[in-house]
């Protein structure tokens, strides 16, 4: 592992109006070369109009083992969804 260049996560914006989406990773000594490698590896067929690279080690992620407690509060709050409310059919445009 010691000799490996740092790992960079690659994000591609498919076209204007869309957000960047994670597509994979590349090894490179610096960000500029990471962008070049990302272009060759992930956009050989007009897959994007913009690239981001982020050092993998800089990403902080949630713990999948804690996914239950972490996301449970959202699950129990069904009243955040419009379908929770019963409105008679005669009422229109609501």
């Amino acid at each position: 592992m010691s000799k490996d260049w740092p790992l960079w996560e690659v994000f591609v914006r498919m076209r204007g109006g869309l957000s960047h989406k994670h597509v994979g990773s590349v090894h490179a000594p610096d960000g500029e070369l990471a962008v070049r490698h990302a272009r060759d590896v992930y956009t050989r067929r007009l897959e994007g109009v913009s690239l981001w690279v982020v050092k993998s080690a800089d990403i902080v992620a949630s713990d999948p083992a804690q996914a239950g407690p972490l996301f449970e509060p959202a699950e129990s709050k069904v009243y955040r969804h419009p379908t929770f409310y019963d409105i008679p059919d005669v009422v229109k445009h609501i």
């Binding site: 592992m1 010691s2 000799k3 490996d4 260049w5 790992l7 996560e9 994670h22 994979g24 990773s25 590349v26 090894h27 490179a28 000594p29 610096d30 070369l33 060759d40 590896v41 050989r44 067929r45 993998s56 080690a57 990403i59 992620a61 713990d63 999948p64 083992a65």
Partner: protein
């Protein structure tokens, strides 16, 4: 996320070797059975991780070594169009190797170790790439048959249980279709060309047919690890089923080309709704697996040479980055 730093084995869950671990194994098995995906940071059984690293890295090595048989025809392509196409195809194979190395790295494998294993001749890769490419027709036969067989192997893997592997396969499959079509186009041109060209096409089919059938691996009866592979959803179809499917699809294509499949026992079986085909020489297969393929040595020499020839580029990039950092620090 795609990072070994985040995905270190056992980082997320307590791994006492006994009770808890067994409960986790059962939980992972249930998720796999429910067609869910396992992601890098999820806890996973050590055997699952190891098997995946082996399978994905071998797959990656196959893509990288797979560049060589075709690469040596780039400079001899018969037209600029063919040259541009072949260059793009070979570049795709390099890309496939990189997607797959990335996927293996999410399991804790290091790129450096995988590269070293390949260059040291310790890593396995698909036996098909240890056969030589003797004429331009071989480039057609490889695209048509070898990429065709690869597609058939890879399509089911798009739904394999390990997320990064499945996603890599989705990208790969999207790109493979052009590989097969450009190969078939070469075969059409040769088969409809001069008698000598047609003969070359037939000769290429003769040499690549059986090795292509071997790409699906040993007969089901001799694949002891298959059951585990099915349970973990890192294998989705049996070797023999895929091989049969390949023969069924490819035989009419050979007929269309006006070429003869080199198998005297090949005939349509109306009752089965499949083609019957002759016995495969598994001795040859195992010999190639053992590294006795016709050009196995040349392939590894070419890889090492490419790696060594590229050393100055890697060193220059390192030196540049060190200088940039030193300047930033000053």
């Amino acid at each position: 996320m795609y990072t070994p730093e985040l995905g270190k084995p056992g980082a997320a869950a307590p791994v006492s070797r006994r009770g808890e671990a067994r409960a986790f194994v059962a939980a992972v098995a249930a998720r796999v059975a429910a067609d869910e995906f396992i992601e890098p940071k999820d806890w996973m059984p050590e055997a699952y991780r190891r098997t995946l690293i082996r399978q994905i890295s071998q797959h990656a090595h196959s893509e990288i070594v797979g560049m060589l048989p075709e690469g040596n025809w780039i400079s001899r392509a018969p037209s600029l169009r063919r040259k541009a196409v072949l260059l793009a195809k070979v570049q795709d194979e390099g890309g496939h190797g990189l997607y797959l190395y990335c996927a293996a790295e999410t399991l804790g494998a290091s790129r450096d170790e995988m590269t070293e294993a390949l260059l040291a001749g310790k890593a396995k890769y698909s036996t098909i790439f240890n056969y030589p490419t003797l004429t331009w027709a071989d480039i057609g036969a490889i695209g048509w048959l070898v990429d065709g067989a690869a597609i058939m192997n890879q399509v089911p893997l798009q739904r394999t249980s390990y997320g990064p592997y499945a996603r890599a396969m989705v990208r790969v499959c999207k790109e493979e279709s052009f590989h097969q079509r450009q190969g078939f186009e070469i075969m059409m041109a040769m088969a409809n060309g001069t008698p000598e060209q047609k003969e070359m096409a037939q000769d290429a089919l003769n040499r690549w047919w059986w090795p292509s059938l071997m790409m699906f691996g040993p007969p089901d009866a001799d694949s002891p690890n298959s059951a585990q592979g099915f349970r973990w959803r890192i294998k989705r179809d049996s070797n023999d089923d895929l091989r049969q499917k390949f023969v069924d699809i490819t035989t009419p294509q050979a007929e269309f080309l006006g070429l003869t499949v080199p198998d005297a026992d090949l005939r349509w079986d109306a009752d089965r709704g499949h083609y019957d085909f002759g016995a495969i020489d598994w001795e040859e297969f195992y010999a190639v697996v053992r590294g006795e393929g016709p050009v196995a040595k040349e392939r590894m020499e070419a890889r090492r040479e490419a790696w060594e020839d590229g050393a100055w580029v890697r060193e220059a990039a390192d030196a540049y980055e060190a200088k940039r950092q030193a300047r930033a620090a000053a």
